[in-house]
Structures are given as structure tokens and as C-alpha cells.
Point group: C4
């Protein structure tokens, strides 16, 4: 295998497509968001990107068959314009790999006519939350203004430390190619996989791109996660000898 190996699975014509990225990261917000889009909308796998910059690893499916670590790019046809969705199980394993893989992703996107990139992710707040703001960063001030209009927050010094990995480079390398790019980051505790944060990010995307999506299955997933979070809370309380809601019923 070469350092990078892009497998062409399909080559549909897309109408004015934008690239939407959701790779693993804080709270798995970006990955959850694009996975939900792929579940809810009809999609077609168009490219697989293999690379020796991914971990030396296969995943095992439920039927016992294996798949080599790769990133996948899917086409989703919407009413007004189409999406190219980039997802996968891995970020690059090394510094140069981040640059080379992101360049490969942008090459594919540009070959489909992409001019705008949405990198989706999470921004850690360190505490459990009820309201999920979406924090943004973008390659130019016009794009910033457009996003402010749909409720995205731009905050000084946030995210502290900048944006790292593929999401960051989609903006950094995208801008150098003359693309417009933004990173939309849902607030999330940072401790758990966070479907509610993923919904907040997707709702921004609906507004910006003019499409609609159902959230039932994502809400179920959010409820499951809430159960997990509550159980953890309970166990911690029991260890510290404090009564939980559960305990209180028996006292009463």
C-alpha cells in the first residue's frame, strides 16, 4: 500500500456540495452528528481513504468480518444542495499524517466541486450542562457574521489552545487553498459521549444549509447516555455515603 490510498467507490455528480467532517474528538460530538445524518438521510459511499498514518488495525464487524482502518466519504443528496460527509474511526497517528490526510480529504472534496467546509466537533466545558451553545471559528470575517446570524457564538480566547487535528487543518489548509471553512463546536462536558451536543451542532447546520432532519433516534441515544450518567452519579454518591434519589424513596 502507498502512504495514502484513495479508493473510488462511486462518482456521482453533486449539486454545489459542501464538505461536512465528523471524526472522533471531544465528546464524539462531530462523529455522532455526521453518523446521525448518515442514518437519517439516503447516502452513498463515494471514497475510502487508507493510509499508513492511520493505526495498524482492523475493526471486526458483527458478522465476524474485518475492515482496515480508513476514513470514509459519503455523498448525501438534499433538496437544495448536496453534502459530502467525512467520517471514520480514527484520526492520524502522527503529526505529518494529520497534514497529509487532511490534504487528501480536501483533494477529494475539491474534485467534487466543494467550496465550503464545515468541521463539526465539541468544546469541553468541564461540567455537565443543560443548554448547549455552539461555539464557532471560521476562515474569514464574512463567514463569521453569517454564523453569528444563526446563533453561533464566537468568544475571545475560545477554544483556548486553538483547534487541533483534522478539524483544525480543514480550516488552516482549506483557507490556503481559497476555500471557506468553519469549525462548529458544541459545548459538552468532555466526560461522556454527548448526543445532545451533537443535536445542537446539527441544528446550526440545518439553519445554515437549509435542510431538516428528525432527531428521535439521537434523543434515544441521549436518554441512554443520561441513564449512564445517572448511574455513575449514584455510584459516586453511594461511595461517599450520600443518599441518592433512589435511596430516598426507601427512607420515605
Amino acid at each position: 500500500m502507498d502512504e495514502l490510498d484513495i479508493e473510488t467507490v462511486a462518482d456521482p455528480d453533486l449539486r454545489d456540495p459542501v464538505l461536512v467532517e465528523g471524526l472522533p474528538g471531544v465528546g464524539h460530538v462531530g462523529k455522532l452528528a455526521v453518523e446521525h445524518l448518515l442514518e437519517e438521510k439516503e447516502s452513498e459511499l463515494v471514497r475510502r481513504v487508507y493510509s499508513e498514518h492511520f493505526p495498524p488495525q482492523v475493526t471486526v464487524s458483527d458478522d465476524g468480518t474485518t475492515e482496515l482502518a480508513c476514513a470514509e466519504i459519503h455523498a448525501v443528496e438534499l433538496d437544495d444542495r448536496d453534502l459530502l460527509i467525512l467520517t471514520g474511526d480514527n484520526q492520524a497517528s502522527d503529526n505529518a499524517g494529520h497534514y497529509r490526510l487532511t490534504d487528501a480529504f480536501l483533494d477529494v472534496a475539491e474534485s467534487f466541486g466543494v467550496e465550503t467546509v464545515y468541521a463539526l466537533g465539541g468544546v469541553p466545558t468541564g461540567e455537565l450542562m443543560d443548554e448547549y451553545a455552539v461555539v464557532g471559528a471560521a476562515t474569514d470575517t464574512e463567514f463569521v457574521e453569517e454564523l453569528v446570524d444563526v446563533g453561533v457564538e464566537f468568544r475571545e480566547d475560545e477554544p483556548a489552545g486553538g483547534i487541533v487535528g483534522t478539524s483544525g487543518l480543514l480550516l488552516g489548509l482549506g483557507e490556503r487553498r481559497g476555500l471557506r471553512a468553519t469549525c462548529l463546536m458544541g459545548e459538552t462536558s468532555g466526560y461522556l459521549v454527548d448526543p445532545k451536543s451533537a443535536r445542537a451542532v446539527l441544528e446550526v447546520l440545518e439553519d445554515v444549509l437549509g435542510f431538516e432532519v428528525e432527531y428521535d433516534s439521537l434523543e434515544e441515544r441521549a436518554d441512554d447516555m443520561e441513564d449512564v450518567a445517572n448511574k455513575i452519579q449514584e455510584m459516586e454518591n453511594q461511595q461517599s455515603g450520600m443518599p441518592t434519589d433512589e435511596n430516598l424513596r426507601y427512607i420515605g
Copy 2:
């Protein structure tokens, strides 16, 4: 030396050979299994693969002479079909090295006409065991069915995290070349070198490939390991003040 340097030691004609890999890994199951095959069957060293992706290291033999870190490929002629056995003391030291070495191993295998690959390894259970199931993963569903027929277990979400290193890539890169490949993983505690797990894996291989092998020397090694495990257990018990089998005799 080049990045990869394949030394041709012999070039026998092999009948319908399969590649069997056993490099260091969980419980050294794969390595023990192929070492046992090489002890029990007549074999011929056919290739040494040197690489700057291996550690910068020589091993010292009992006669004081040294050998540069390498992987070895041996040919074993059986009644029905032949084996190419890949073993060695090291995995690659870096991410890209895993990909490049596995590609080199597959190049050698294909040059001998190999169409099927068996990667042998262990899957950690975290507890000492009496029965040793063999868990599998394979490149296609037909191969999965063949292996189910000889008792290999295919389990959802196992191994969690997929299969990493050379074993994983033999499947991932093998499939991309059009080879059939499986990883056969003997259950093992993960704490100790495990000859019994190696035997379980070899017994599957006997069934699939139609050959037979003696296990006396592997059983001796298993008994040695059991003595070690018992001593560790005893020491732990003495430290915690609990009587061991040994102690009980003296009490009686």
C-alpha cells in the same frame, strides 16, 4: 541497509501454501504456536526480513554469537499442502513500519503462491481459564462459515478495539490484495505466556488444514508455566495470610 531488506535463503517450490503468522503478542500465543510447529515438523528457512522499522538491536545466542533483529519465514512441507511460517522476536517499532513490513511479508507470501493467510494470536480474558475457546475474525463471510464449522467462535464486539499490529494488517492489507485471511485468537488470561492457548489455536489449524502434530513438548511447557502460576499464587496467598494447599498438608 535499505528501509527493508529481504534476504533470500532458499527458494523451494511449495504446493498450494498458506501463510501462518505467529509474532509476539498477547500471551505469546501466536509465537508459541508457530514455534511448536517449527519444532515438530521439518522446516527450511526461506527468507529473512531486516528493516530499520525493527528495534536497533541484536540478540545474543547461547554460543555468544549475535543476530540482527529480523523476521523469518520458514517453509514446512506437510502431506497435503505446505505452510509458510512467519515468526520473529519483534513487531515493527512505528506506525508506518507495521504497514510496510506487513506488505513485505505479503509480497513474499504471494511470490510463493499463497492465497490464504492464518494470523495466530491471543485474546485477553483477564482471568485464569480451564477451557480455551478460539475466537476468530476473517476477511469474508464464507471464510467465517468454514471456521465456525471447525469450532471457531465469532462474537459480537470481540476483540474490542479490533486487531492491531501485523496480525490485523495481514487481514486488512491481505483483503485489499484479494487474499483470504483470518485471525485465530486463543483465549488467554493475558498475564502469562500461555502454551495451552497455543495448543487450542493449533488444533483449529490442524482441523482446517488437515495435518497432525504432537503436543508432548508443548504440554511440558504448559506444566512449567502452571508451576510458575502456582508459585505466584502461593506467594500472594502467604502475603495475605491465607493458607495454600501446601500449607494445609502441614496443618493436617
Copy 3:
């Protein structure tokens, strides 16, 4: 993007320029020093150096726009001779990257006619200080003597462990190209960003290169840091139950 990508932003003619480097390091002394020069003097950005040896990262500005990790080279025109100032937010992420980036910086410098290099940095003393000596090292004994004349101290075995990173290689690789180079290191505790140490280094540079600079804004920054240092001191004293200056007033 290539491994190294040097963007030409401007190409002014410079009179007898010297290269002055201030990248992140001990006490951020070098970076503070060159940032202060860029604030106080008129300057022009002449080059941006992008590289996959920098972290895969964008920083986010106060207006919400992003910038890809890079090093910047600015031209500053002084009365007698001009400066090329190298700064940025990152050192290289890997060993070879340090060599390749430093070579790129020296290529740019030589294209402007630079023959002398001043690497600015800090040397950690492990204790808070009142007086800030500047310790030096240089590529040749003549240069050492020149610097001794303006008060730079050259001490046996200091800095212990030599000079690492871009500063070190500007001397090591610079000398191999026939350039004169020195590293001027302000003494600093090593615990805090240290504007006073940066001033000490700049004052040496003023003497050597014959220019003058105001220090008001750097002194403000030093006062801010002193407040921070005092608060840390106070908190530590309160924890250990010892009275601080603040407490003593209330006792009286």
C-alpha cells in the same frame, strides 16, 4: 501542502540585516523580547513558513478567524541597519523538523543578505531574581569577545546540557554555513513568563546593534507578572499559615 511551504508576503531591500530569533522557550524570554521590538518599531511581515513539522493546529483570533500554525519573519528598518525578526507560536514537533525548519529560516535570512544571527532566549536559574544577567554562547571567539565587551557573561558549563531547539540549531547550522551566530539568554526563574529578563536581553541587543527602544509597555507587563507572582506567594504563605505583608497590616 509540502513538507515546508514558505509564503513570500513582501520582499523589501534591507540594509545589512541581522536575524533576531524569539520563539517560545524558557520564561518566554526570547518571544517576549522580539514581540516587544515588533510593537515598538515599524515592521513589515515578509515571510510565513508553514510546515507539517509544526503541530496540526489553527489558532483562533479575537474576531473568530483562524490562522494555521506557522513561523513569521518580519523586517524592521532601524537607523543604522535593519533587522529580520523570526517569531511564532511553535517550535517544531519532531527531531528532524527542528533541523529542516532552522535550515529554512537560514535560507530566508541569507536571501536577505544576513551574515549574523542573534537567537534570544532564557536560561533557568530555579529561583526568583532581582538582577538579570545575560548569559551567552557564540559560534566563534571573536564574537564572544565582542559580547563580553557589552556585558554578556560567558560561564563554564552553562547552560548545562547545551542549547536545544531552533536557538541551538541557528548557531550549529549557521556556523556550518559560515554565519556568525550567538545565543543571548536572560537569566529567569523558569517558573513564569519573564518580561524583565526579556528587557535585559533587549538592552544587550541595543548596545550591540546601536538602536534604542522604549520599555514602558514591557514594564507594565512586568508589573502584571509581579502581581501574579505576589498572589501565588501569598496563597502559598496562607496555606502554610505564615503571615504575608498583607496580613501584617491587619495584625498591627
Copy 4:
């Protein structure tokens, strides 16, 4: 600078030279041994090897001038045959770097006609010692026998884990080029720089190569180290409340 840059400083004709390597390692035994040879015998620097596989670093001399990290090869003319001595302050920083630098060292050695290589080092025993055996390993059994004749010990399973770094690869890569190579390892505690172990290794080299060297300066260095070791011992004893030899005199 290229990945590897070999600077030719001198090109003397040497009579039947052998390569003697002493880079930093366990107890600095190898480096001490070759440094002592260079102090006691007339020598000429013949090559400097620079590489981006060395740390990005300059060392600072007592006169304040700097030197880029490199390895040095010196020629020493003895009565019967000459030596090429490889020394320096660093091993390679990365896996591939060890292979590439060792190949470069062997290229230089072969260009001078070297057919035999002596890698000098230490083998850690974990305890302070009175007698310093020299343990060996070599590329062929004849060489092993020659070294047994001069008192080198060859022990099963020692050094456990083989020989790593440049010393190991001089044997591993040397053998692949058809060179004879040995690693002579002085026993050493592994805790301290060990001039006595270095002497033990040099005495073997004297026997094998037929030359003589004075040990006064090395003995002084050993005495200094012994003082250091005694002080550490004393401090430990005082902390544990046990009397030292020193204390006992005062008690009496």
C-alpha cells in the same frame, strides 16, 4: 543540511585499522574507555558525522563557543596497527536513525580499510562491584574463541534483551557487510559513571590488539567517583541512622 552529512577533516593512510566505538551508554563505560585512549595516545580527528537524527542541540565549550551535535571519528596510530575511534555525546534520537548512522559509521570505517569492529560498553549488574569481568558477544564463533582466550566471558542469556543502539547495530549491520565485530561489555553497577569498568574493557583491548596504555588518569577519575559513591553511601546511612566507617572512628 542533509539527513546525514559527513565532514572530511583529514584522510591519513592507516595500517590495518580496526574500528573502536565508545558512545554514551550503561555506566558510560564505552565512552570513558575511548576518551582515555584519545587522551593517552596521539590522535587525529578524521571525520565529523552530523545528522538530523541527532538531537537538535549545540554544546557550549569552556571558551563560550558552540558545537553542533555530531559523532567524531579519530585516527590513532599504534606500533603494530592503527585504530579508528568513534565517539560523541549522543546516540541517535529515533529508531531509523540508529540504522542510518551506524551504516554511515561503517561506510567511513570501510573507506579506511577496517575489517574488524570493537564496540565497547557496559553491562549492568545492579550492585556495586570489586571485580570487573568483561562480558562479550561477537559475530562469529572463531572471534568468540579468540576473545575467550584473553579472558572475555561469554554467558548464556547475557546481556538479557540483547545489545541495543549503535553497539548492537555495529555487530548486526557489520556482519551483513562481511565484517567481524564484537561488543566488549564491562560489568558495572549501572548507577554511576564507572572508570574501573572502562579500564577492564581497555585491558582486554590491549591484549587483543597488542598495545599498552597508562591508567593513572583513569585511576584518578575512579578515585573521584569512589569519593562520590562513598558520600552517597554516607548520606544514606545517616538518614537510616546507621554508623558509617567515618562515624565509627569518632565513637572509638
